[in-house]
Amino acid sequence: MLQRIVRWSRKKSPWILHLNSGACNACDIEVVAALTPRFDVERLGVLLKATPRHADVIISTGPVTRQIKDRIIRIYEQTPEPKFVIAVGACAMSGCVYRGAYNIMGGLDQVIPVNIYVPGCPARPDAILDGVVKLLGTL
């Protein structure tokens, strides 16, 4: 019973943390655009949170630069269990055009485990929304 309530509440209100790991900003504005009136993810109970300690879902963009690698791992560790990671954009999946540049790790999954990948350069807000919904479906 308690288990079911916990699962239900987790599904109904995922709190997200938006993390930029060296992205070109386009994916980031699309993540923010998903919060604004046209797409409005807040109606699905999604709230953007400022600190990793409040978040359930980390939405991360960017190819992970070497400089920020340690911080990402730290942020991932600060997020309470259960935690989920959505990699938004071609960058976070594989490095996109930056593949081969000397200062990137080439994808988020090189650093932390990833649950859902949202492709696109940049991923459209509707695609990001779809990613969140798919993630909730797996709970």
């Binding site: 938006h18 993390l19 930029n20 790991s21 060296g22 992205a23 070109c24 900003n25 386009a26 994916c27 980031d28 504005i29 699309e30 923010v32 655009a33 604004t36 009136p37 046209r38 400022a50 600190t51 990793p52 960017g62 190819p63 630069t65 070497r66 400089q67 920020i68 911080r71 942020i75 996109c96 055009v97 930056y98 081969g100 540049a101 000397y102 200062n103 990137i104 350069c121 940049p122 459209r124």
Partner: protein
């Protein structure tokens, strides 16, 4: 008593990774130190491995908000290197997208400024209207953010009369909305009280610190590459350079809203006078050895690309000076003697685009003058070794 507060690299008030170190006395900022590098990807080096055409897509991804600015700045330069002249219709379409991008960027910024000032309704309004611009851009180019409409020698897509009409209709709507924002921005007492007098940058300071773009224009410096050194077809287009005299965040809001209005006029002019003909010419694969500096007025200020070719199909050197980098010294002055609660507002007011302005550090050996770029792990190893060898400080005192 002075103490230092680190902000970032991941911080609620910042959308992008950057680290600020503030030296505070009570609530007053005495000094600020900006640290970069969290977003550095090494694009300039990467560009040397790709062909001229591939590099359009690389430069476009320097930044997602002013992607067209970087791509156009680069393409302009390369066209000069290759000695080709894009057809007139191509140029008109290219700068049509450029002005649309300015509109979307300024609307985005207005929203962010409203959000940082605690006026979230404004944020939601401007971002809703921004979607109208995004729709136009998607219709014209096929993508919402990275338009990829530039190619060497012109643009990749043409527009038809139906699209033209749609854009003109949307312009009416956007004009009406922007007038409304102007009214709010100038008359809403609590909003004005929050932003007036915050982040002062005097005209002398702005000149001395080489501020660019709306930051400089809000300090009463009439400086705009589109007017001062017209590129493309800007010499034929009638428009005014928007300035403000108040030298604070309020002035920066006013300048940007005025620029929105100018951009609508430019877009209308371009659409009404769109010449007929092809949109692109064929570009050669190689460029003769030469070098070029290309200037472009991005939404955030002057963008400079330096390109050097060596006769092959790849650039030998690409150097990018993004407008945000030019504005950092001015930001430090703006932050000084401000309050800690004003940091996000002041910082947002230069419209920072951190990913544009990333830099790597080259270490210069003081004794031999030898330059090298080292890996972080290498640097850490060196630091450990040095620390092991360092003599123990016996009389060290705890700093209190």
């Amino acid at each position: 008593m002075k103490f230092t507060v680190p902000i970032g690299p991941q911080h609620p008030a910042l959308k992008e990774p950057i680290s600020l170190r503030m030296t505070l006395e009570g609530e007053v900022i005495r000094d600020a130190d900006i640290r970069l590098g969290y977003n550095h990807r090494g694009l300039e080096k990467l560009a040397e491995e790709k062909t001229w055409l591939q590099n359009i897509y690389v430069t476009e991804r320097i930044c997602g908000i002013c992607s067209h600015s970087h791509a156009t700045c680069y393409t302009q330069g390369v066209e000069k290197l290759m000695e080709i002249e894009p057809p007139k219709r191509g140029i008109y379409l290219r700068f049509l997208v450029a002005e649309l991008e300015r509109v979307h960027s300024h609307l985005l910024w207005l929203g962010v400024a409203g959000h940082e000032a605690g006026f979230d309704t404004f944020f939601m309004y401007t971002w809703r209207d921004r979607e109208v611009v995004m729709d136009i851009l998607e219709m014209v180019s096929g993508n919402r953010v990275h338009y990829a409409i530039n190619t060497l020698g012109g643009v990749r897509r043409d527009i038809d009369d139906l699209q033209k009409k749609k854009i003109l209709d949307s312009l009416d709507f956007l004009r009406r909305r922007s007038e409304f924002y102007f009214k709010i921005g100038a008359n809403e007492p609590s909003f004005v009280a929050r932003i007036a007098g915050v982040g002062r940058l005097s005209k002398e300071d702005a000149l001395a610190l080489c501020a660019v773009g709306p930051t400089a224009r809000a300090s009463d410096i009439s400086q705009d590459v589109r007017k001062d050194d017209p590129y493309g077809m800007y010499a034929e287009v009638p428009f005014e350079v928007a300035t403000a005299t108040s030298c604070d965040v309020l002035g920066r809001v006013v300048v940007r809203v005025k620029e929105l209005m100018q951009s609508y006029n430019i877009i209308e002019f371009l659409l009404k006078n769109l010449p007929d003909g092809p949109v692109a010419v064929r570009a050669p694969r190689r460029a003769k050895p030469n070098e070029v500096v290309s200037r472009y007025e991005a939404p955030r200020g002057e963008n400079i690309h330096y390109i050097k070719s060596n006769g092959t199909d790849k650039p030998e050197r690409l150097k990018v000076r993004a407008p945000t980098l030019a504005n950092y010294p001015a930001t430090v002055v703006m932050l000084r003697n401000g309050f800690i609660a004003d940091i996000p507002l002041i910082f947002a007011a230069i419209d920072p685009c951190i990913c544009c302005a990333e830099r790597a550090v080259v270490l210069v050996d003081g004794r031999s003058g030898e330059e090298k770029i080292v890996l972080m792990s290498e640097l850490r190893k060196q630091a450990h070794e040095r620390w092991k060898k360092a003599p123990l400080k016996k009389d060290a005192v705890w700093p209190f």
